[in-house]
């Protein structure tokens, strides 16, 4: 104790003695306090809480919002030309306007924050996994009997979050439970292929740890991980030039693995909740529409889904942990819903479902050559379409999502159901929506929220992975039987559709007959070479998986995004045709080599002190 300190202590003693001598209290608080209302690390990081930490990691799947939905309608559908942004003009969630037009989607543009939000949120999810893994790794199976299974689930979740980051941003920093939480990990420390390999490793680790089936339906099982591994390998098989994102080679060994993995799911795949191996097999649902029925969550075709719930007391507004991702997508006006008219399927997307006399997709469908399939053109009863159009899109004059009452809130009333029909038209993407009277639907503020799951990967998708791999490998029937199986299912899925409300009204443009549906089978001759087979499979993915959020990533994987979207001055491309119907697209332009991936947040680049490298072209 030095002299100085001694004086301080002496001073304190004197004051205290004097204060005590005149009775008054000295205050009762202690200077040693723990924070009120929080748990400390020591309280949380216990074996008893391990299951809760895993739940926290799962919950990040559903921690989304209409400005950063984990159902990728903005980044997967709008950017692919399958849908318009919708809403109230270009300024209403203007980021989505930028997505639509690939317009000033550069770090230069102020306020482009949807990509930044995705980046922040998915790394938040990854860090919940990392925190949980750190603790789980430190306990024994004796302490934590679920250790192996939960470890597998955590790796699976981390794989999913990284997969999302990879397809959106391409070059990303890899952070796992062994990464120190200081310093900067560069987003180009690993090459694109190394990142893919890391993601594949997550799913392989998950497969090693996971049981074939889990009693709780929301958890990942072996086959969910296997499906994601197949998807990861399929994406990574298309090797890209890092400078311009063109596909430079196709890794056939990876495609062979895809075939093997999917075949295993076909033969042995199980869904959750099975008490024995025989009951809960992964399979296509008999009716295509059952995939989009809220009563059918966790069905045999759904390999992994975000579990949504409402009325769970988790937030003011009974939307709970429901489908905020789709909160903007319900129709407005006289539809019986109130908000907000986003996610409007494009005319190009609708025309895509037109079929020829054999029930096969019309080869060239752009508007310059064919009449648009619309109410005004009166061709619902004269032109046949693939019924998957009406399963995915509600168009003027047709019943909304299998409603049967034919009343004013059932039959799409054109512009009267739309937010800004002059700009975007009045189509409604329906796969993520439910009927107004569903008990799974609640009104939260102005938004409609349901408990319908967001399916991240379904068996039909996985089957098409295999078809694509076979086609690229030149093996077997090049995927023909898989494509035809899906088409046969589609053809048989009209039971809920064949209700033309105008059938009795012969004078009506679409009256006097039933709506025409047709889905034909491809002959063997259509699949006699890889190029033709791939062309059909690419088209079949758009028909089967339309508006499910992954189309744009398919286009980028195949290296055809630029050629497909094109420019407003190139007839035959999406922009070239759609701009004739939707002039707001007049300044849309896809820039190959840049627009395949979103920009890395300039804020994050700044925070990294310039260590992060911006994606090419921005």
């Amino acid at each position: 104790m030095n002299a100085f300190t001694r004086i301080r202590v002496l001073g304190k003693g004197l004051v205290m003695a004097a204060a005590a001598s005149i009775v008054v209290a000295c205050g009762s608080g202690s200077l040693s306090k723990t924070p009120d209302g929080y748990l400390t690390a020591a309280q949380v990081e216990t074996p008893a809480n391990l299951d809760a930490l895993v739940i926290a990691a799962y919950s990040w799947l559903g921690n989304d919002h209409y400005t950063d939905p984990n159902f990728f309608w903005p980044t997967g559908n709008i950017r692919a030309g399958d849908a318009h942004k919708g809403g109230n003009g270009p300024g209403d969630v203007s980021d989505y306007d930028y997505f639509t037009k690939f317009y000033t989607v550069t770090p230069v543009s102020a306020g482009l924050d949807v990509p930044d939000r995705y980046w922040i949120r998915w790394y938040d999810g990854i860090n919940r996994v990392n925190s949980a893994l750190t603790i789980v790794n430190g306990v024994t199976t004796a302490t934590y009997p679920n250790k192996t299974t939960r470890t597998g689930e955590l790796h699976f979740l981390r794989g999913v979050f990284y997969f999302w980051l990879k397809i959106h941003f391409n070059q990303i920093p890899w952070i796992d439970e062994n990464t120190p939480l200081t310093g900067v990990v560069s987003n180009v420390a690993l090459t694109s292929q190394q990142l893919w390999a890391n993601i594949a490793t997550e799913f392989q680790t998950a497969m090693a740890d996971l049981p074939k089936t889990q009693p709780q339906v929301g958890r990942a099982n072996f086959y969910a991980a296997e499906a994601y591994l197949a998807k990861t390998l399929l994406y990574s098989a298309y090797v890209q030039d890092p400078s311009n994102h063109t596909v430079t080679s196709i890794d056939k060994s990876m495609l062979s693995q895809v075939v093997t993995l999917v075949t295993d799911i076909e033969n042995n795949g199980m869904t959750n909740g099975a008490t024995d191996g025989s009951t809960a097999r992964v399979a296509l649902l008999p009716d295509y529409s059952d995939n989009f029925d809220p009563a059918n969550d966790n069905n045999p075709e759904s390999l992994f889904a975000i579990q949504r719930s409402v009325n769970d007391n988790s937030a003011p507004g009974n939307g709970g942990r429901g489908t905020y991702a789709s909160a903007l997508n319900y129709p407005v006006g006289d539809s019986g819903f109130g908000c907000c008219g986003f996610h409007i399927p494009s005319t190009d997307f609708v025309n895509n479902f037109k079929v020829d006399d054999n029930g096969l997709p019309v080869e060239v469908w752009n508007g310059s050559l064919l009449t648009d399939y619309t109410y005004e053109n009166g061709n619902y009863t004269t032109v046949a379409v693939d019924p998957r159009l009406d399963h995915s899109t509600n168009i003027h004059g047709k019943p909304f999502k299998y409603c049967t009452d034919a009343g004013p809130t059932c039959i799409h009333d054109g512009a009267n159901w739309a937010r800004d029909p002059s700009l975007y038209g009045s189509n409604i993407g329906t796969k993520d929506l439910v009927l107004r009277d569903c008990s799974c639907l609640v009104l939260n503020g102005p938004f409609f929220i349901s408990s319908m799951n967001t399916v991240l990967i379904r068996f039909a998708d996985v089957e098409l992975f295999k078809a694509e791999a076979l086609a690229q490998l030149g093996q077997g029937d090049l995927g023909r039987s898989i494509v035809n199986t899906l088409r046969a299912r589609a053809a048989a899925s009209t039971a809920k559709l064949n209700t033309n409300p105008f059938a009795a009204d012969a004078a009506h443009p679409n009256g006097g007959a039933v709506f025409l549906y047709s889905v034909g089978q491809y002959p063997a001759s259509a699949f006699d070479n890889t190029a033709d087979a791939m062309k059909i499979i690419m088209r079949e993915r758009r028909l089967e998986l339309g508006l499910e959020g992954f189309r744009f990533f398919d286009l980028v994987r195949w290296g055809v995004a630029g050629a497909t979207l094109g420019t407003v001055t190139t007839p035959g491309t999406y922009f070239g045709d759609e701009v004739l119907r939707r002039p707001y697209l007049n300044d849309a332009k896809f820039t190959p080599g840049r627009d395949e991936y979103l920009p890395i947040s300039q804020t994050e680049i700044n925070l990294s002190g310039g260590v992060y490298v911006q994606n090419p072209g921005y």
Binding site: R8, G11, L14, A19, S21, I22, C26, G27, L31, S32, K33, T34, P35, L39, T40, A52, L53, I55, A56, A57, Y58, S59, N88, P90, G91, Y103, V108, W119, I120, Y123, I126, N127, I175, L181, V184, V185, Q216, R219, S309, D312, S314, A315, P316, R321, Y324, V332, G333, F337, C340, A415, S422, L443, S451, N453, P583, D587, N606, L607, S608, G610
Partner: protein
Amino acid sequence: MKLSEAKIAALCCAATIAWVQGTAQADTAASTGPSPAAEAQAGPENSLEEIVVTGYTTEKKKDVVGAISLVDLKETEDKPVGSIMQALQGEIPGVQINTDGNPGAGTSVLIRGQGLGPLGFNAPLYIVDGVPLNVNTGLEELNPDDIASIQVLRDAASASIYGARAANGVIVITTKKGTGHMELTVTARESYQDYQSDITPLNTAQRAQVWYTASINAGLPPNNSLYSYTCKSNPCGASGYSNVVIGGFVGPNGQRYIDPGLTQPVSDTNWFNAVTQQAKIKETTVALSNATDDSHFYSSFGFHDAQGVVDFSEMKRTTFRINSDHSLYDGKLTLGENLLLQQELQNQDNANAAGILNQALETQSIIPIYNTAGGYGGPAAGTTDHNQPVYLDQSGRYDVSKFNKVLGNIYGDLKPIDGLTIHSSVGTDYSQQYYRNYFPGGQQGNVLQADNLNTSYVYTQSETVTDTIDYKHTFWTHNNLDFLVGYENIDYTTENFNASGSGFASPVQTYTFQSEATADVTAAGSGDAWTLRSYFTNLNYDYDGKYLVALTLRDDGSSRFGSNNRYGYFPSFAAGWRISQEDWFKLNWVNDLKLRVSDGANGSQEIPTYGGSTIYSPQYSTTSLFANPVNTTTCPGPNCQQEMGTAYDINGANTGTLPSGFAKVSTGNPNLKWETSRQINFGFDWLLFDSSFDGAFDVYSKRTSNILTTTVPLSVYGEGAEQIVNGGTVDNDGWEFAMGWRHNFQIPHLQSPIKLHLSGNFSHAVNTVKSLPADVVSAYPGNGTTQTVLGRSINSLFGYSSCGIFTSAAEVASSGQPGAYLGGLKICDTNHDGKITSADQSFFGSTDPKYLYGFHIDTSFQDWAFNMFWSGQIGGLVNNAWANYLFPANNTGANFSNQLLNAWSPTNTHSNIPAPTLNSVLLPASYFYESATYLKLRNLTIGYTVPDEALAKIHVSKLRFFLEGSNLLIIKPHSTMLRDPEVVPGASFPIPKTYTLGLNGSF
């Protein structure tokens, strides 16, 4: 009692001192002998003898060695303000006060520069009668009529006695004590307020016109469900249109509607007029006071009822105060108390007034207030889906929130021997707030909303115990010593809970209680606590009033820091030299001249109480999706966003209680320690020419180091990675100047002189960030590498600069600017590389004022007084959010500013308003800032004091009437769009013009 005795008796407790001060002023007045009326007009003539509270003790102003401002309350007493701090805007050198026009508004006060800006905590410490306040947002809970004195301690040495939270300066308030004889005082004011908006929205026909141009400029067809144009060309183009039909839906009688249901006829609503009113403010204070040889008391009842300029908005405040003290045993023991009971009622329209006004500008005039189906008009295709202002206004009028407060202390002084005083005080600041907001929801236009009731309750309590021992002695004739040791302990606790529910069977206020909710009932709550404990000593010494020295040492302990760094040690030193007292000083026109120098350190502990620990929280219950920040740092607490939840329906049940985990809220830093600011001050005070000219000049340099701030980690480290750290250094340097001049002009043939008092202040401050940790600096303006905020003000602005308007197609083509178009805003190519990239961003200014100033021109003649107060700011930029109304693409469904009618076009090339477009384009940040320089006539008062002779007959001892106007005139650069650059538009409630009639009488 003589002044010297007063000084010696004044100990520790500010309340006691207030009484002493009152007595002292009365004595001064008695000795110089002006009439009470004259004294009220002119204030004390000789400021040297004023008593100043310098901490737990007092001094005469002439003995003060720090930079202390004593506010002249005579200058502010007529202002109809809710908070005394509002009345002090521009009055005190070096003090920047920001407030807005909301009747219940708080104030933000910056003493000596910008502090740490967004890096840290900047509010001063408020001490009321010796009790520190919990909330540092101003003094709106006090009745301004109860205040006896306000002193602002600016330099470190003066403030250091309050060290633990004094780093941003201290504002010391003492309330009134009983004086003289039994007296009843009535003060009443009635005010009217008017407000005009900065921009005028378009009417329905004008918006159709602007919409056409904006569509054509964007290359879009202009027709939509609101407007169908008959164009002069096909397709529609720059040649314009010959006719427009407004309203896309036509009724049976040909009337046009905006909705397919034909319930919303095309209208031309002036929303601003529909939701604003001429507001009235009524204020009354009735006070009773008395003093006897051994007792003093003052009690008052105050009522303040202020409407706002938004219809129905209202704030009512009732205050009751009782201050008394009693001495026993020949004055050896004094016991007393100060007590304030206060209730403030504020309705939701008052709380949401800024939002309603913004909505009134945003909502298109085409929407009717009411529809034809008996409901409210509302959103339709082509309009924003926000609630319309009248509906908001009506739905908030009956939701009244209550704020109750008890503030006060009891104290005792024991004087066992001559010169020694032992003082103890126990004080509390206790407040409760009840908040309710019922939103009725329902169908409004094409938007359907659920109803919702939010209620919350919060209490905060602090207990302050202060014990001091003070010994004053004069030895060897000229050596005056004042030695004080003290102890202070503050315990703070708070707890809150809130609930929400919906599905109410009836929207009436007498029914909507949480128990009646049928859906979606949630509850949440939290609490917090901290303790602050300090030991301090203070030594004041002077030799013959010539050489003055003050020394303060303190040791502060805070529960917010880890055990190793819990205590901080803060010394200060000050010295003064009254040159004019020297024998050799022979300038007889100099009445007093004093040099002062001080140097001291203060601490700050203003961080969340959890800073030291890594903490987790189950985020089962989250807030709604409308809380929607981009970055987790803007929403650091638990229960934050719905998208940050920890619950998951792992069983696929779709409803019911979910399993939940935990989220990391923040990362602990066990090494946290006190932030320290050190300030050196040099100043001098003068009194010249028969004491008619007084003034003070101070120059200071303040350096804050070990700044307590929050890191902004890379997002890849996930939620809760942010950490509170001690890091960085910020300097605030500047100077302050205050002066006053009094003169009585004897005019021939007039019996009484015209009295003139001119006074003013001028100050300058510069903020400079010297260093910041790497994971903090990147979060502030700049690009993270070559351009950072280091070496600049923390409030610097960074971004693209505006370089005028594109006036030719060639200019557009060669610009290399994304989204460039003819008539659009040109961004400066600062690096001259022929294209616009992020490398063209630069620092283009800051929001810091360069100079702040204010001046009074006070005159009186006989019983009349005429006073003016002007104040203003030179330099700095203010965000002009109204500029957003020039860019239709920012909110295509909104209304726009009528300035667009005069926008640039090939035929109107002299306009500086960019041509409207519906395309979202890159906008230069600098375009949204404009000069904040202004000069404002803050107050103009005419007062009349009824002569004593007239009053004597009616048993009234004093009666005064006054007419006052506030914010009557604003002088600003011509280019400025804002009418009042003092208020940041959009974010806050505008300051209205106010006219007040009042009276002040004593009986």
